[in-house]
């Protein structure tokens, strides 16, 4: 008993519950949702899960609102849990963005009218192609586990953007990734493709996590700490070898860029976007991008700003590669989901330009871009999920010919969204590009902006090609039909398109909000 007396009393770290309440609510709801899966009879689960998930998102948003509203007199942000989590203005912006985008995605996930029974398989354990599989194809149930998985992934993303040390960041990375791997494999139709996508995503994702972890270890060796602030201090003057710093930085950034699907670390993106159930693709494309760039922004700004002279050239090249790969390979795609995947690679390049500007304008511009891009993407995938034939979604571009004749409203909305992706004025895509490029030119990245603009013009070609197909081509006689969407999908698409328009015409509010303050560490 003597050694007990020697132990210093531990001071428990102070926890600001108000600040982290949104994460706690989402995580708590995820746990409850797991219990629902265990104890509720099968036929009640869907309704219960949908209500719980929506309530959790609304409650988290409410908690965040209360916290942010009460924060007016306080400083720009706080750190809590022994400085492992920082809740500052960019984090609040990103959390709101994530919650809103997750809400939109959950609407798509919950929809059961477009595909009878929903986009998810009734029993994931049945092997594809067997007799049982054919039997279950006609069943209308679905694996409702997708709801708790979504909530877990979301909580991971929320922690990821707020993580103030690399270890927390790594754990958050895993919490957000593992559910996504699973969710990718749950498609009701084309199950082999879906499972292949899941395995591919998992293997490559595991590699990326390993890179991240290795980089983390090297940086710990360099700075003697995993805290971003300590790494920043160490870069100011340390007797350790710079090799540790830069090798660590490189490996860490590869892990982050992989998640953000920045080329040339994008190889998984087209396959996974194509194979995953479309609502999950929407969730992944919108929320994962926000989370990954939130993390990149924080790491680059907080920990490595001082050494930017050394690494900026490299990320400069990565941004160029990403834009060129996305724009050029997008031209050759014949599947609309793969096309949007390559477009997301090009957009990741634009976002990276904003991220490496390392100015207040760069930060606020990138945040705005994430918000704008996320909503456009959700609406895009919402529309994609509606164009179907007997085998499920008709994603081959040739099947979209003459769609405007069959469904003018849908074609009109999709055209608007494509123009937003192309960055035509009066859409949020244009304002996003404007703010990001303005920040970059201000910071002396003018040549990069010129490359970006040329890439935008190239990318516009494949967006236009879809418009040409929809409006100017004659529809094929056995072409797909456009399903009349149920309430959930309608709301999701309307929300995405409306926000795309509002942010394009009246962006001041969001711009001011994104520019409200910088990172706290």
């Amino acid at each position: 008993m003597k050694f007990l007396a020697q132990i210093q009393p531990i001071d428990p770290p102070e926890i600001l519950y108000g600040a982290i309440a949104p994460v706690l609510i989402v995580l708590g709801a995820a746990c409850v949702a797991v219990l629902f899966e265990a104890f509720l009879p099968k036929h009640q689960r869907w309704a219960a899960q949908v209500v719980l998930t929506m309530l959790a998102l609304v409650a988290a948003g409410g908690a965040l609102g209360i916290y942010a509203a009460g924060e007016d007199n306080k400083p720009q942000g706080v750190t809590t849990l022994s400085e492992a989590i920082a809740v500052d203005r960019p984090v609040i912006f990103l959390w709101v963005t994530l919650l809103l985008l997750a809400f939109g995605s959950v609407l798509l996930i919950a929809d059961r009218s477009v595909e009878p029974g929903g986009a998810f398989v009734a029993d994931a354990a049945v092997r594809p192609g067997t007799v049982q599989d054919r039997a279950q194809a006609s069943r209308t149930g679905m694996q409702t586990e997708v709801f708790p998985l979504t909530l877990f992934a979301l909580s991971g993303m929320m922690v990821f953007v707020a993580a103030n040390d690399l270890l927390t960041m790594f754990i958050a990375l895993e919490v957000l990734s593992l559910p996504l791997y699973l969710m990718c494999g749950l498609a009701r139709r084309r199950r082999l493709l879906s499972q292949e996508a899941a395995v591919k995503y998992f293997l490559l994702g595991a590699f990326a996590s390993a890179f991240f972890l290795y980089g983390l270890a090297l940086l710990y060796g360099y700075a003697g700490s995993v805290k971003l602030a300590d790494i920043a201090t160490a870069t100011a003057g340390s007797d350790k070898s710079d090799t540790l710093l830069f090798a660590g930085f490189g490996l860490l950034v590869v892990g982050l860029l992989f998640k953000a699907s920045v080329g040339p670390f994008h190889a998984w993106t087209p396959d996974v976007y194509q194979g995953a159930p479309t609502p999950i693709t929407a969730f992944m494309a919108a929320c994962t991008k926000v989370a990954a760039f939130g993390g990149i922004l924080r790491v680059l700004t907080v920990a490595f700003e001082r050494t930017n002279w050394e690494w900026r050239g490299v990320l400069w090249g990565v941004a160029v590669a990403s834009m060129v790969i996305g724009a050029v390979l997008g031209l050759t795609q014949t599947d609309v989901k793969r096309m949007v995947a390559y477009s997301s690679v090009a957009h990741a390049g634009f976002l990276l330009i904003g991220s490496i500007s390392l100015t207040e304008q760069g930060l606020s511009g990138t945040l705005f871009y994430l918000l704008a891009y996320g909503f456009t993407t959700i609406a895009v995938f919402g529309v994609i999920s509606l164009v179907r034939n007997a085998d499920g979604e008709a994603t081959h571009l040739s099947q979209w010919a003459g769609l405007a004749k069959r469904s003018p409203v849908l074609a009109g909305v999709f055209t608007f969204l494509l123009l937003a992706l192309a960055g035509i004025p009066l859409t949020s895509g244009f304002v996003g590009k404007f703010v990001v490029f303005a920040a970059a030119i201000e910071d002396g990245l003018a040549p990069l902006v010129v490359v970006a603009l040329v890439a935008s013009a190239v990318a516009a070609f494949f967006y236009l090609r879809v418009i040409v197909l929809m409006y100017f081509s004659e529809p094929a006689p056995d072409g797909p039909t456009v399903t009349v969407p149920g309430a959930f999908t309608t709301v999701a698409i309307t929300l995405g398109a409306a926000i795309t328009l509002v942010l394009g015409v009246w962006p001041s509010f969001a711009l001011d909000w994104a520019g409200a303050g910088g990172f706290i560490f």
Partner: protein, 521 residues
């Protein structure tokens, strides 16, 4: 705060929406569209009267409202003499175009209400381009006007319309995106100088006055490339023959009559005042392109076999003259260039319309399919001849005044370029008269006429041929154009009075004075 311009902007937009809702009721849609365009014309007259050329205010009829405070962007409009005459030209051409397209045969499955709705939407975009006095607003309209034109060509155009629409959009979008880099550059430069960035045109003129020449040259190039694509100057002209040939006649008139003038207007409003040093530095390059365009466009016009492409190539030659007048930096040449912009809209617009009338009778675009048509349709032949003479700048027609002013004003500053350009006048006579001779003179021949007429024997007898001369509607459409050609040919003073002070102001912004300008004051 003047509401005239705002009304001019909003009215066609309202009209566009109203007409779009008249789907399936084409006759009403046409009358409503015509009604809106006539009210717009009346409003333009109001604006013309309200504008005071002798006032010292550079921009008049101004109005402004805050739009995006974060970027100092204002929704502001106003006109100088140059913009005013262009807006008047738009308002004048629109009823003519609507009348001209009244009984056009549209591709199968397309409704007239869609066509006229897009035309009116174009009008709002075009007025916006000329009326914007904030560079951001200008950019928004510059891009936004592409969308209706894209659909006009792509949905209602000729057999190769998809290709032409895509080419048109991509060329313009690429130019626009390059310009966006310069717009952002302007913003950043003004932010450096004033603390808070702005995109207000008048403020930027004073800010840029003493910016270093190298900065000016880079920013100038961004704007210049965009405008050179629009105008179009050789070698960026290749989209125009395709777009012009495939566009439906009404859209073609607007395309070469107005839309292309955005380029030359841009030179005058943006390139010269914002980047005076760069303009002077690069003037020889621009002048070379202009002169090459005159000769090259004329030679290709001589060699065309397709009447619509022929009109497009004559336009390329004419745009060479306009660019020559602008970059010769003398008030005579500048005034001539602006008058040329108006006259070209009238004469080429008319040429396009009569070519359309020829085509609607013969069903072919090829010159070789016609011959001796004046025997069957004397009135059409006569009016084609009038349009042609105006296009080749015969004294007594409107174009003579402007071409003469451009040449006489350019000669003192740029004798070599001017002398070479006069070759273009000779070639103009060749291409116009030769086409007229082949289509209208000689014995009746050509598959287009004979097949319709029912055989060689019958065709010689106009009474029995299937080809009718102009009906009342067509004459009513062309009559105002003929009237303007003659009025402006003999009495151009009202228009010149409006243009001259603004050209003087533009040249003083560039820092060029010439004796003629001072005498004028």
């Amino acid at each position: 705060m003047s509401w005239t311009l705002i009304a001019l902007l909003l009215l066609p937009l309202v009209g566009s929406v109203v007409v779009a809702f008249l789907r399936g009721n084409d006759r009403t849609a046409k009358f409503v569209a015509l009604g809106f365009s006539l009210v717009e014309l009346a409003l333009a007259v109001v604006a013309w009267v309200a504008y005071d050329p002798s006032s010292s205010a550079r921009l008049q009829l101004t109005s402004s409202a805050e739009w995006i405070p974060t970027f100092g962007v204002h929704l502001s409009f106003g006109v100088d003499g140059i913009a005013l005459v262009m807006i008047a030209l738009i308002a004048f051409l629109m009823p003519v175009v609507i009348g001209g397209a009244w009984s056009d045969k549209l591709p199968e499955g397309r409704s007239a209400s869609g066509f006229f709705s897009l035309l009116l939407a174009m009008q709002t975009g075009m007025v916006g381009v000329f009326a914007a006095t904030d560079v951001f607003v200008f950019y928004v309209f510059f891009e936004a006007v592409l969308v209706p034109m894209y659909f006009l060509i792509g949905r209602f155009g000729g057999p190769n319309r998809q290709y032409a629409a895509m080419k048109f959009f991509l060329y313009s979008l690429l130019g626009g995106l390059i310009m966006l880099a310069s717009v952002i550059g302007l913003y950043v430069t003004s932010a450096d100088k004033l603390g808070q960035g702005t995109l207000d045109w008048a403020t930027l003129v004073t800010v840029m006055k003493d910016a270093p020449t190298s900065t000016q040259i880079w920013l100038f190039l961004g704007f210049f490339i965009a405008f050179a694509i629009k105008a179009p100057l050789v070698p960026l002209h290749t989209w125009l023959p395709d777009a012009g040939a495939e566009a439906p006649v009404g859209a073609g008139v607007l395309l070469v009559g107005i839309l292309d003038k955005i380029g030359t207007f841009g030179f005058l409003r943006y390139c010269l005042p914002l980047f005076p040093a760069a303009s002077k530095e690069l003037a020889p390059v621009v002048l070379s392109l202009a002169v090459v365009g005159i000769i090259y466009g004329s030679l290709l016009a001589v060699g065309q076999t397709d009447m619509k492409r022929f009109v497009a190539y004559t336009s390329i030659a004419h745009f060479g003259f306009i660019a020559l007048g602008i970059f010769a930096f003398s008030s005579q040449a500048g005034t001539g260039a602006v008058l040329y912009m108006v006259n070209h809209g009238i004469s080429t617009g008319m040429l396009f319309l009569v070519v359309g009338m020829v085509m609607s009778r013969g069903g072919s675009r090829l010159i070789q399919d016609y011959g001796g048509m004046a025997k069957l349709t004397p009135v059409l032949g006569g009016l084609f001849f009038v349009a042609g003479l105006s296009s080749l700048a015969l004294p007594g027609t409107n174009s003579f005044v402007s071409e003469f002013l451009v040449l006489i004003g350019s000669y003192p500053n740029q004798p070599v370029f001017t002398i070479v350009s006069t070759l273009g006048m000779v070639l103009a006579a060749l291409y116009v008269l030769w086409v007229y001779q082949r289509v209208f003179q000689g014995p009746v021949r050509g598959t287009a006429l004979l097949s319709v007429a029912g055989g060689p024997g019958t065709a010689k007898d106009p009474e029995r041929s299937g080809i009718k001369d102009l009906d009342k509607r067509e004459i009513a459409v062309l009559a105002p154009l003929v009237a303007l050609i003659l009025v402006l040919g003999f009495y151009p003073k009202p228009v010149l009075d409006v243009i001259t002070p603004s050209i003087g102001a533009t040249l003083s912004e560039v820092g060029v004075t010439d004796p003629v300008a001072q005498e004028g004051k």
